[in-house]
């Protein structure tokens, strides 16, 4: 089974919700997600973020829909780490 272990995303979001709430919402999308968020740029109405999500199995679709639900816009997937795990 191919398991996504880590993804780094480039995301644009409005100032609200703030970085902490944004991070918490993404972490809440999985049971063991660890999220690291870095604000790269702040504009008048938006912020550009780099978001790193790590977990045993990161569900990209869920992460993406969580980001859009809270008002963010995914610009690109910058890094991915995938592991081929034997089916148990």
């Amino acid at each position: 089974m191919l398991a996504v272990k880590r993804i780094i995303l480039d995301v644009l979001k409005p100032h609200q919700p703030n970085a902490l709430e944004f991070c918490q919402a993404i972490a809440n999308a999985g049971t063991d997600y660890r999220v690291r968020l870095t604000v790269l740029e702040v504009d008048e109405k938006t912020e550009t973020l780099q978001i790193e999500v790590t977990g045993n199995i990161v569900d990209f679709d869920v992460v993406q829909s969580t980001i859009s639900d809270i008002g963010g816009s995914l610009h690109s997937i910058d890094e991915v780490e995938v592991q081929n795990e034997p089916d148990s």
């Binding site: 008048e44 109405k45 809270i70 008002g71």
Partner: protein, 193 residues
């Protein structure tokens, strides 16, 4: 997310705390002063029945509530729509299905409810002695005077609330709003006798 958390979240998202608070104070004050004016007018008219006074005041309270609700909804709805469009332009994406879109749809209702219910609840509190008197409760003085006292007390409490928000003396702020109510009462006395 429970309802309270949801409301807090959308208020934070749209930074509407201040607007809701302002609407509550402004329209609560409106309700209290309108009832004060009506009741004082009836006191100076002397011979009117209590049920007529209650109906007139209740009619005014409902009208204030409906007016507050509809005007706030229309204006807030337009404001939120405009803000969402500006945010969508900045984000270069459609936010209608996001929490921002949801907030833009719900905040006008929330503000409208506060704006409508504030004068209505304040008015009903002021009219309470009239309701009780009609229901058979006997007061040592006319229920109209008790209603005026409640109106003055509510105006004072609104001032206290304002003082606490501004971080200034609550007593001074309470006395300031009470002074406004007293001036209103004096003007009504002068013009309706």
């Amino acid at each position: 997310m429970n309802l309270i958390h949801k409301i807090k979240f959308i208020l934070r998202l749209t930074r509407s705390h201040n607007i809701v608070r302002r609407y509550f104070i402004v329209n609560g004050f409106d309700g209290a002063l309108t009832m004060l004016g009506l009741i004082m007018g009836f006191i100076f008219s002397r011979t009117i029945e209590l049920s007529v006074i209650l109906n007139a005041c209740l009619g005014a309270a409902i009208a204030l509530g409906m007016s507050g609700m509809s005007s706030a909804y229309v204006s807030e709805s337009a404001e939120r729509h405009r803000e969402l469009e500006q945010l969508e332009d900045a984000m270069m994406s459609d936010l209608k299905d996001s929490s921002h879109g949801e907030a833009a749809r719900r905040v006008p209702w929330l503000v409208a409810l506060v704006n409508g219910f504030a004068p209505l609840i304040f008015s009903l509190l002021i009219l309470m002695p009239l309701f009780l008197s009609i229901a058979g409760v006997v007061f040592p003085v006319s229920p109209l005077y008790i209603a005026i006292l409640i109106a003055l007390l509510l105006v004072f409490l609104l001032g206290v609330f304002l003082g606490r928000i501004a971080g200034v003396s609550w007593l001074r702020s309470g006395i300031q709003t009470l002074f406004i109510a007293t001036v209103t009462a004096t003007l009504i006395y002068l013009f309706t006798r």
